[in-house]
Amino acid sequence: MRLKIFTYQLLILGFIIMLWESSSKAVPKVFLASPTDVFPLLIYVWLESDIYPHLYTTGFEILLSFGLATACGLLLGFILGTWRLLRNAYEPILSALYAVPSVVWYPLLLLFLGLDIASKVAFAFILSFFPIALTTIQGVSQVDKVLVKAAYSMGASKLTVFYKVVLPASLPIILSGISTGLALCVTGVIVGEMLGGIRGLGVLIASAATLFETGHYFVYTIIVIVIALLVNQISKLFERLSWRS
């Protein structure tokens, strides 16, 4: 079964590359670089060019913004999730803010935080903080009341109820929020770098695109895809973790 699935996945990948190769023959090279050009270039970039500082920057921005968004999102989520008055007051505001296309804040962030790392981290933070906070609120407030009641009847304190009942009961929902947040962090950092920055993968992509270096553009895009796949695997690990504990 596993092998079959893998074979089918390889088939579709092969099909896409073939489609890419054949369509690149039909248009000028400046518009679409062919796989036969891109893959050798990928190896060259990996071995010879100075891509590493850019990768580190992007990676650092992702980790920092994700860490901050998770910490703040969980904290606010737990507070609003357990405190009904605050939840009724502030959850609608959070949801409304979440509905705003976050990219509108970016010019402001650039203005205040400058072109370097800080504005990217702040932007990715805004993108991923809301889903983490909102799903945590949802998870914590939707814990079955009878589970809490039973724990109180067995003499549990409020704190014990929180970490022995509320937390494990809402963990699957919370982890799904965190994995959404992680994916949005990657998006935020790359988009932020593309829209204006000094270092990072997004900066490389944007400059390759403006300079019509189509081959490099594809190389960097492939690297972004690989990062996204990696992040997706980590998210899946999170969600699998939740039911084992």
Binding site: K149, Y152, G155, P168
Partner: protein, 260 residues
Amino acid sequence: MTTHLIEVRNLTKIYGSGSKSVVALQNVNFGVRKDEFFTIIGPSGCGKSTLLNLIAGLDKPSLGEILIDGKKVEGPNPELMAVVFQEYALYNWRTVLSNVEFGLEIRGVGKAERREKALKYIRLVGLSGFEDKYPSQLSGGMKQRAALARALSLETKVLLMDEPFGALDEQTRLLLGIELTRIWEETKKTIVFVTHSLSEAAYLSDRILVMSARPGMVKKIVEVNIPRPRDPNSDEVNRVKAMVWDEIKDESKRMMEVAL
């Protein structure tokens, strides 16, 4: 007076305030004797679960008081009473064994003793062999057995049961009723049992408190003087059932009229 382990005095519970307030219980008075199987029955919405929550200390009365062993109930007291809920209230992420250990864990009982006690009560409720299963792998009846073992493991004098078999099918319900009688006789406890099933009440109880429709009041307390072991289909049990039904049917009707 002193023969009563549980004493409910002038108990009134009002939910909400102003014009929207609902009187759930009004001036309820009764006592439960030591080692008695005491059942509370009434039409749905009569406040019988509210009454049990108040006894358990999970809710506060508006007026009146409840005394257990001479002490006023001010909150949950896991040294004195354990509660079984209709919804089982098992923790999905814990195995049966770990669920049964939960109450002891909160009490601060050491690991070895906790395990020993949990296994003992798992055996008593007939769940041996399922210690490492998760609640989602159990049937409704087995879940309620696990919840019962968890409550028993606290080794309290009083066991409060809020429609424990309400979500189960009739056969499982009957079977668990029979086992509960056996466990009750083995462990010598005072049981307060809330139900809406006439058969359950008549078959299990020493005494049955019949409640009136909202506001919940004590309508009558029926003594069930049938020797044990009882046959759930015997004439005596059926006679008690008919008697309780006579008391309850007008109340049920009234409740339905209110709803309409």
